[in-house]
């Protein structure tokens, strides 16, 4: 028997491609624009969201029958904020260096619409195990796009990957720069992320006609 039933496996696999949170559901766009100027930040954000979304989905799913529907958004917000603050405090005490890297993401995770979006759309209506898988799947789908965008923006904008120069030195003109190549400063600013995300959506839809809506 497979580790996961086919239905459960789809909860993880669907968001990676045909139901991707960023390119199809258009959730989590704000953070995809804000922090993808470098690859390292993309990876850190992807891991943080993975943790918070999986945990949050489980907590909300366990509480789904007792949450008053009138204040459910506030309850969701409190759950995310609490989780994020706990993680931040524990890291500050036991992995101080890492917490410095994460500090800027704390606010971004709490307000990330992908988290509230999955709580609303999935965790409130499904059991904890399914919600956990949904959380993992969606954050992976989110992370994949973040990493792709971060890869292109850092490579074309700064000529580095994970901060390591890969195209030579732009100032002393070595490597690719010796041929007259220049870094594209436009890639560093947020609108460039929108263009990269747009290209990803274009590629995805042209490969999968089922995703194109009829007008």
């Amino acid at each position: 028997m497979a580790l996961l039933s086919k239905k459960d496996a789809n909860l993880i696999l669907d968001p990676l491609a045909d139901n991707n949170p960023i390119t199809i559901q258009v959730l989590g766009i704000c953070s995809a624009l804000a922090i993808t100027a470098e690859l390292k930040a993309s990876v850190v954000m992807a891991i943080s969201v993975l943790f918070v979304l999986a945990m949050g989905n489980v907590v909300i799913s366990l509480m789904r029958n007792i949450i008053p529907s009138k204040i459910r958004i506030i309850v969701q917000l409190i759950v995310v904020a609490t989780l994020v603050i706990i993680v931040d405090q524990v890291l500050k005490a036991f992995a101080y260096e890492l917490s410095k890297t994460l500090a800027v993401f704390v606010g971004l995770i709490i307000t990330n619409c992908i988290i509230m979006g999955r709580f609303e759309a999935f965790a409130l209506a499904n059991g904890p195990w399914k919600s956990f898988l949904d959380g993992i799947g969606n954050s992976l789908g989110y992370g994949v796009i973040l990493i792709i965008v971060g890869f292109f923006r850092e490579l074309l904008g700064s000529g580095t990957l994970f901060g390591i120069p890969v195209l030579g030195d732009p100032i002393t003109k070595t490597g690719l720069y010796a041929t007259g190549y220049e870094n594209n400063g436009f890639m560093i600013i947020p609108p460039a992320a929108l263009i990269v995300v747009g290209i990803i959506i274009w590629v995805q839809r042209s490969r999968n006609k089922a995703l194109i809506e009829d007008n």
Partner: protein, 249 residues
């Protein structure tokens, strides 16, 4: 049996219980970890001060490497010979001066009290370093740092950090390629305390010109860069009188 979760009374009770539970959990975690966090922050401050005067484990031109946390206390007492607190005309020694909270001092100054200005005097291979802490505003939140000067008021090293600047843009003020540019710049322009401006388009990306009081800015991080310029300038104004007493031409 299902409870009627739509009733107002249920909503109010639910909210109240939730607030109490979450509040208790967070308060418990915060108070049980606060000692450890404070200790981490104290050691980090020592690492930052030593970093500014060149006591670090940097290799080549790569990333920032501090003195390891386990050695920092020893190194700090070895290299930092004196810690002074300037209060108006009065200068006192205080070996806890590095713990002075600059934000509180700025608030105190606004309320009309005399601001306490800490200075750390380091000594490495006979050379003297005057290390001055700074604090200012970036785009989103606070930025701060340390600047190490010699007796000619030429920068020997800097360290910058920030609370929440944008990763990949303003957050790069704590990267080597930005901080290293400050070394060799003078904070004086003639006899004026000009500070060092983070300048766009100064046509000196390699920062070879060391007497222009300018370093090359970071692309896409104008406001953070301006914050750094303003922070250095303000700090130098505060310390002007003291720096005059140590200045050697």
């Amino acid at each position: 049996m299902a409870v009627n979760t739509d009733k107002n009374s249920y909503t109010v009770i639910f909210a109240a219980i939730m607030v109490v539970i979450v509040g208790t959990v967070l308060a418990f975690i915060a108070s049980s970890l606060s000692d450890k966090i404070a200790e981490n922050e104290r050691l980090e401050k020592q690492q930052n001060i030593l970093y500014a005067m060149g006591i670090n484990q940097n290799e080549g031109a790569g990333s920032v490497n501090f003195v390891p946390t386990e050695n920092v206390a020893g190194e700090f007492s070895k290299f930092i010979k004196e810690q002074l607190v300037i209060e108006g005309d009065k200068i006192t020694k205080d070996d806890q001066a590095y713990l002075i909270d600059l934000k509180k001092q700025a608030t105190a100054a606004k309320n009309g009290d005399t601001r306490k200005l800490p200075v750390f005097i380091g000594d490495k291979d006979g050379a003297k370093y005057y290390i001055i802490p700074m604090r200012g505003k970036g785009l989103w939140d606070a930025i701060w740092g340390f600047i190490a000067l010699d007796e000619h008021l030429v920068v020997q090293g800097v360290y910058f950090d920030h609370a929440a600047e944008t990763p990949g843009l303003g957050a790069n003020i704590k990267q080597r390629y930005f901080m290293d540019d400050f070394v060799g710049e003078s904070i004086l322009s003639g006899t004026q305390y000009a500070g060092i401006a983070v300048a766009k388009g100064n046509n000196d990306p390699l920062n070879k010109i060391k007497d222009d009081n300018e370093v090359d800015a970071l692309a896409g991080a104008t406001i953070t860069g301006n914050g750094v310029s303003a922070m250095i300038k303000e700090t130098m104004n505060l310390y002007k009188d003291y720096l005059e007493t140590i200045r050697v031409n």
